[in-house]
């Protein structure tokens, strides 16, 4: 791709894809922006028109908003913490030559194949239910009062459920990174007098840094949009204890039928996602440089 002709040919060839992607992205964004400045409630279709920043001010000023932002950040941070640390530990474990390695790997990956609403319902009804759940049974067997996970610690419970779903992804990415570490490097460190924990800290962890960055970035994108798990377990409650920004947008559009306000919420969510992205790229983006 070095001659003038081949470069312009390349541009022509690429343009249909680029243009359709652009339209694909721009149209919904512009529509969302448009709606966010309109009074547009499905329950009152006659009361329409331009309202300026009204949708934004009411969305941001609502008492649920700050709580939702905090919950969103807690959810993302909590799941990232569990999946990254858990993923490293699991990857280290299944990288060992253990009996039945192949089966163990398949089992570890299994949660990834379960649809989010199914996974969340299984957790809700079979594990965390305070009367019938397995955890309740375990508590009773130990002579303790069963704990109402989704009632008393809704956000933490949702974090656990979502982390369970994402752990396989993190483990898989980190495992492949781990397997690309040359054994001679580890042996060199061993001969240089580094005990196991220092080999982990000085050799293995730096080697994994790029994979960890990829895991964090990809998961953050998806975690900011977590909705189904909340919907089928706590419905954002009790009160607003497990309401995230995404859930708030959902509530505005579907439950309150307020498309205008939901669009404003969506734009706020996009802005938040971008702030998080900039922050992440500043913090760990340099790990991606070769």
């Amino acid at each position: 791709m070095s001659t003038q002709a081949s470069r312009s040919a390349a541009r022509v060839m690429l343009s249909p894809a680029v243009i359709s992607l652009l339209i694909w992205m721009i149209v919904p964004l512009v529509l969302t922006l448009w709606f966010s400045f309109q009074r547009y409630n499905l329950l009152y279709p006659d009361r329409a028109g331009f309202v300026g920043f009204y949708n934004y001010t009411t969305f941001v000023a609502s008492p649920d908003f700050i709580q939702a932002i905090i919950n969103t950040l807690l959810l993302v941070a909590g799941v990232l913490l569990i999946t990254v640390i858990g993923g490293i530990l699991l990857a280290l474990l299944i990288d060992q030559p253990i009996w039945g390695q192949g089966y163990v790997r398949i089992l570890v990956i299994a949660p990834f194949f379960i649809m989010p609403p199914v996974a969340a319902l299984v957790w809700k009804n079979m594990f965390m239910n305070p009367t019938n759940g397995l955890f309740a049974e375990a508590f009773k067997a130990l002579g303790l009062t069963p704990f109402d996970f989704l009632g008393d610690a809704p956000l933490i419970s949702i974090i656990i459920i979502v982390a369970w779903q994402w752990l396989p992804f993190a483990t898989l990415i980190l495992l492949t990174a781990l397997q690309s570490l040359s054994s001679e490097e580890i042996e060199a460190a061993e001969m240089d007098g580094a005990p196991a924990h220092k080999r982990f800290w000085f050799i293995i962890l730096p080697h994994l840094s790029r994979a960890i960055t990829v895991v964090i970035l990809i998961q953050t994108i998806f975690l900011l949009g977590v909705l189904v798990e909340i919907l089928v377990t706590t419905n954002g409650g009790p009160g607003t204890a497990s309401t995230t920004l995404t859930f708030l947008v959902y509530k505005q559009s579907i439950l309150n039928s307020d498309v205008g306000k939901a669009a404003a919420g969506g734009v706020v969510a996009v802005i938040l996602a971008n702030i998080v992205a900039v922050f992440l790229m500043r913090a760990i983006g340099k790990n991606l440089d070769a």
């Binding site: 060199a188 001969m191 007098g193 580094a194 080697h207």
Partner: protein
């Protein structure tokens, strides 16, 4: 001190015995080269000495003390790997300082030793680069630097030059020999290249399928190969090994004559043949002689200025005092 003794050391991977019971003694300050064809167990033997593999049987002692179950870090040995095994995320300075840091030396002491090693290895201007920004030869030097700063009892090298180009290889060979001359530390060096073995070693250990075929100085091995394997392996080009009636004449199963111990003539000689492919190196000429009726192509070395052409008839006469004789088991007679 760096005296290493292996007694009855055996290594099995599952059912496969890679190293049958092996005895070897390496003296303090010696430059020992393990040489043998690929897959003969050289690396495995080195890794057993380093402690990176557990012995299946037998004993390894370092400086008279049993080290068979001592972990690698505590054996006082430093290893230079074939792939260099540098830490890619650390600068050259940090790479070299790593063993010192692990040993808990102060930052000032680390810096002093790193600078001293960098001085010896001509690395001072690269200290702040990462391994990825260095050439193969420089990486090799960093790996050696990381070994030197530990001031080990012995250095272990596993084919350290095999990833370098020919010119650099000759250079590094000299540098490592010089390093040995100045440090006077025991060095164990593994290679499949008999030229490296011949040029660097005080003592060569020829390995074949995990067995020690012969141990001795380069010249001793060259002049008195103990068996046909060593005879064929040491020396370049290879010794001519002949079987059949010619060998029976010397009451042996196999006889060996080195290419340089064969006189050539265009008029008379013991063997007659036609000249095949020849290699003119300037100082020497190596040529193959076919159709000698000996069952083998004979390799001959002559001076640089000989005018021998492909297809010509030539007469060869081996020096009778330089003929090696081997019995039916391949052992020297």
């Amino acid at each position: 001190m760096g005296q290493i003794t292996l007694s009855k050391v055996t290594k099995r991977f599952g059912d496969v015995e890679v190293i049958p019971p092996l005895d070897l003694r390496i003296e303090d300050g010696e430059f020992v080269v393990f040489v043998g064809p690929s897959g003969c167990g050289k690396s495995t033997l080195l890794r057993l000495i380093a402690g990176l593999e557990d012995v299946s049987d037998g004993q390894i002692s370092i400086d008279g003390k049993d080290a068979t179950s001592v972990p690698p870090a505590k054996r006082g040995l430093a290893m230079v790997f074939q792939s260099y095994a540098l830490y890619p995320h650390m600068t050259v300075r940090k790479n070299i300082a790593f063993p010192l840091r692990m040993a808990g030396l102060s930052a000032a002491e680390q810096e002093k030793k790193v600078m001293a090693a960098a001085e010896v290895l001509n690395l001072t201007s690269f200290l702040d680069r990462r391994p990825g920004q260095l050439s193969g030869g420089q990486r090799q030097r960093v790996a050696i630097g990381r070994a030197i700063v530990r001031e080990p009892e012995a250095f272990l090298f596993d084919e350290p030059l095999s990833n370098l180009d020919a010119a650099l290889r000759v250079n590094m060979r000299l540098e490592i020999s010089e390093l040995h001359a100045s440090l006077k530390t025991t060095m164990i060096y593994v290679t499949h290249d008999q030229v490296e073995a011949m040029t660097m070693a005080d003592k060569i250990v020829v390995l074949n399928a995990g067995r020690v075929e012969q141990v001795g100085s380069p010249l001793h091995l060259y002049q008195n190969p103990q068996n046909t394997f060593v005879a064929g392996f040491i020396g370049s080009p290879k010794m001519n090994l002949l079987t059949g009636p010619e060998a029976t004449k010397h009451s042996a199963t196999t006889i060996g004559v080195r290419p340089e111990h064969i006189a050539t003539s265009t008029t008379e000689g013991l063997w007659k043949g036609t000249v095949g492919v020849s290699e003119h190196l300037g100082s020497d000429t190596f040529f193959r002689v076919n159709n000698t009726g000996l069952g083998e192509t004979i390799m001959v070395r002559a001076g640089g200025e000989v005018a021998i052409r492909h297809g010509e008839t030539i007469y060869l006469t081996p020096d009778p005092t330089k003929i090696h004789r081997f019995d039916d088991k391949g052992q020297r007679l």
